[in-house]
Symmetry: none
Subunit: 228 residues, 2 copies
Amino acid sequence: MSSRILLIEDDRNLGDQIVTHLKRDGFEVTWIQDGHEALDAEPKQHDLVVLDLMLPGAHGLDILKIYRETAETPVLVLSARNETSTKVRALALGADDYVTKPFWPEELLARIQARLRRPLLHAADVIETGALRIDLSARVVENAGQKVELTRIEFDLLATLAQRIGSAVTRQALVDRVLDPDREGTGRTLDVHFSRVRKKLGSEGARIATVWGVGYRLLPPDEKKSGS
Amino acid sequence: MSSRILLIEDDRNLGDQIVTHLKRDGFEVTWIQDGHEALDAEPKQHDLVVLDLMLPGAHGLDILKIYRETAETPVLVLSARNETSTKVRALALGADDYVTKPFWPEELLARIQARLRRPLLHAADVIETGALRIDLSARVVENAGQKVELTRIEFDLLATLAQRIGSAVTRQALVDRVLDPDREGTGRTLDVHFSRVRKKLGSEGARIATVWGVGYRLLPPDEKKSGS
DNA sequence: AATCTCCTTAAGTAAGGCTTAAGGTTGCAG
DNA sequence: CTGCAACCTTAAGCCTTACTTAAGGAGATT
């Protein structure tokens, strides 16, 4: 999914140039050219804001302040001013970066990507599928809102399947990943663990399908078990 | 807990100046003046790296690359070179910011703080959860309005869990962050500290849940311990 | 130097859960 | 249909991990 950038820049030429570069790199860009409009914009619905400080209608720092109160979206500030005090103020107000004009579009792009790279690391730690809710960072599983107590290995097995939902995962891969990697995939240990997971998950346990001679697979919510 | 900065800068004067400013603002600074040494340093044990590109012994970009493979610690690059291509390369390699020399220390400081702000954005200076109130800057904990006397390590452990409330934190991560980072995570020291924290917190101590075989986790106020 | 704080280690105990074994069941091939 | 191999399930033993208490010792304070 492409990232959505909110660009606030009154200069026609510069704005046009930025939009062109961003779109060429696969970003979706919303371009606002006026300060008042910027106050009504929705930073929450974008992944990053590029904000020029010198605008007609409203000052960039005021916009920054308001955005910070309503959203966590990273803000990259553009400005022609190169004074340290201005930079410090913008950064203290919550800006994530400060780029001085003039700049090459390549640098802006690189800085945007550096900003976007970070949040992805900490995002999407919860997998929801059907009645199951798997919180990877808390290591907690809920089935239809009911907490399910899983052991370390049981959780890791379920999480591994859930992360590749729909596709088969080989026994050996599961053994390597969850149990001791230096172990032969021969024993019945894996079966025992899955047996318990299925039981603990109740009716949802049926979604853990055995792929005969291969391994296991977590069925998507809509897929029924015995295909006729 | 004050943030730990790893500074890699060969210039004596500049380095000294930076260290002074950082310490004045309450950072703990490790200063390395040689490229080879930097390769053996432990970025994982710091909260942010300030990396000069022009070093004797090894090139900054190589150091950056290696750091990126082993740790997620943000890296802020310093350089005298102002070419866009260098900036783009550094940022593409995983740098989080790029500051061109010469610069005022205030700007560097502001940029460092902007970088550090992100991961802790959810965690304000004071964390309130259930009956607990944890003041990170004053290093004071209150339980239902009553002050709780915690030692340094006890506080740091609780604070670390609180900053990631609900998430499981591994033993190793806690040892790295709070105890000596060069220690194996095998000993029982951690258990002893948590035992004491739980006792000092009284009934709220039950919110520190053990994640068997993984680590510990601070339960959100609404989450009961053993789900039915 | 005596004392205090607090970090660490050790040891005993408790709990938790991984694994193996064994017997039953299911799916596949001939 | 029959045999075989893969898989399921249960139960029990044992090893790992965690909790607690007590004591030693380092560093700071008086």
